[in-house]
Amino acid sequence: MNEDRLTHLLTEATDLKPSEALQARVSPLPQSRCHGERRNFPRASWFALSGLSAGIAVVAFLAAPREVSAQDLLDQAGSESQGSSFHFRAWEFNGASWHEARYGLSAPGWARYETAKGELSLITPTGCFARSRRDAPVLRRPALDSSPVDDLRLDRHLKILRTLGYPLTIRRGQSITESGRSVQDITIECNGRDERETITLDKRTELPIRMLIEMRSRSNWVPRTRIEYGYASFTKEHLEFWRGIDRKEIVSRTSLAQTWERRFRTVLRTLRLSDGSRLQVRDLRALPNGDVLMVYSGPQIINVHLASEDGMPFARVGSPLNDSRRLESEMPDLTLDGAPLRFLWFTPIREGASRRTHVLFDVVGGAPTPFEHESLPTESSQEGTTPAQPNAPDPLKKENYQATGTFLLSPVREQAPLPAWTDAVPYGSWLIDGERWRDDARIIAAYDGWIDASGHHIDGRYRLQPTGGEWSGEPPRQGLRRDPKAAAAALRAMETMRQHEQAREETGNPSSIIDRWRARFEREMRER
């Protein structure tokens, strides 16, 4: 076969012109982001959907919530899967009936979801920012090159959950034919947790058409959220809708957002990065689950080295120790003085990672700048000052170290002001009577061992309604302090830390993990 014939045959076999739809799909968004450039992200809240779903893209549409029947749900099943964008409708079950959550549309690479109660989830090309049941923001998927549709694929979903360290039990149902397509139910349980997802997959496309999220309540599984997926080509109308969403300042409507803005206005530490730019750390903490969360203003793209006290990385499984992670960060809705606030959070790759975190930053191409954060600030003074106050304890001083402490609430969860006394507990979170969430109340506070001056644990209940929140309970009359158990736990942790340091000093033996990490880091610094 001569080359001319070969050329003819292969040209004929590949003679397929890209359609206009494909041309639209491969065009970048406006002000496309290159490395180092600022992406013009649409304004969006970074609320979170409670549940273990990773990579779910749901979007808000501003419609008044209404009660829907089961038949409505069946009638509104997702359309045939195709294209790169998709839309969702979501409903929440309140124990008695399903109420429609706000549904909406997605833009390529972006999706938002808002429930009738104002809980939002944000998906970006760099990650799905969702909130766990314990209100700790978790970076679900920090991949850089995925599409929203890819996010929904079951294999990625499972990979993310496994990467986060969740032991999974997966059960596959029978394949059935529904509306002319072959579908199969996949139930995913994270062992030991009280949530499970049942995903109904279209077997041809391997994309989900439905997801049911259930929570366990006294050994019974209770439906919580149902999401229907539809896939349609992205249209001009979707763009117009999206622009409308961009202009709505959802977060700024809440007084609590203003409260958090006051806190974030405090600069805990300013880092001068190797390129001369500044990174202002406004909040840096370890979360109850061991995640690290940082709020800062500064470069959008930074390299981050992460290692916990024992040298284990916070990066995902497979990442070598001290591997530089280029993580994109953003807090699209919160700005201070015109500059966006950005946040980063990192998920440990194994349970039990220490909350003492060594975090290093550099800008792309620069040298790492160490910033070691030891823990959270101590309790505030009896007058209820917060670290924002001039006489507040410096959270970065070793004597203020606490191994345990109260941690960040996702501020946008709260749509109504908390009682004023809660400001007395910095970075606070409260539980109702020490219990976990209950179906009949929206708990936005987690109790962490605070007692009032009379020795009573803080007790109360916060209920979040679509129209606002209400608090009932006894606020402390006189100041706040930690209870003895929490204090003892903190002392134990501090002792462990001290022993680590002492062993290192006495033996000079680099065999400890910390020292191996430090030695490696110092070697890398010299080699740069």
């Binding site: 076969m1 080359e3 014939r5 070969l6 050329t7 045959l9 292969l10 040209t11 004929e12 076999a13 590949t14 003679d15 397929l16 012109k17 890209p18 359609s19 206009e20 739809a21 494909l22 041309q23 639209a24 799909r25 491969v26 065009s27 970048p28 406006p30 496309s32 982001r33 290159c34 490395h35 195709q82 790169s84 390529p108 690479g109 090309p125 760099t126 850089l144 090159d145 995925s146 599409s147 890819d150 391997e206 001009k236 763009l239």
Partner: protein, 171 residues
Amino acid sequence: MIPTALALDADPPPESLASPADLPLLLDEIHRFVAAFVRPAADAEDVTAESFRAAFGKLRFPIPRHEARAWLLKVARRRIADHRRKRRHEPLDESLSRDSDPSLGPAVRAVLAELPEDQAAALVLKYALGLNAEETAAALKRSVAATNSLLQRARAAFAARGAFLNEGESR
């Protein structure tokens, strides 16, 4: 915001891509490459779109055109392999193609599917996309000599498996 049709046949393509907005200049080549291995057409478009989406977050601009093409082809080849794995139990169903093809296209694609992936890729790049030896080598991340050797083997394999495609050809 939705772009108008791209002008793909105007001036000679630039040697360098200045920004992500220039990436669609490679659409025709990448799509043709994907179309050699993925059908029906809707699936080929999906794979192509996925490859470009991956590029938007990864490539640094400005970038030489041949480097961008090589990168996109690398991603596309991976996506094609993923697509094939998912569909490995399904016959290549050309009847689903919206462009019902009375030509030898389906038969040629069937022969390509039987070849080792690197050989098939080399043939498509050289003979369907019309890349020269250096461009083909760059796209495959090989030396020119290695690429020529690969092409030699690929031509022989294609001729052996696709001998029936020569029938009726006037020499």
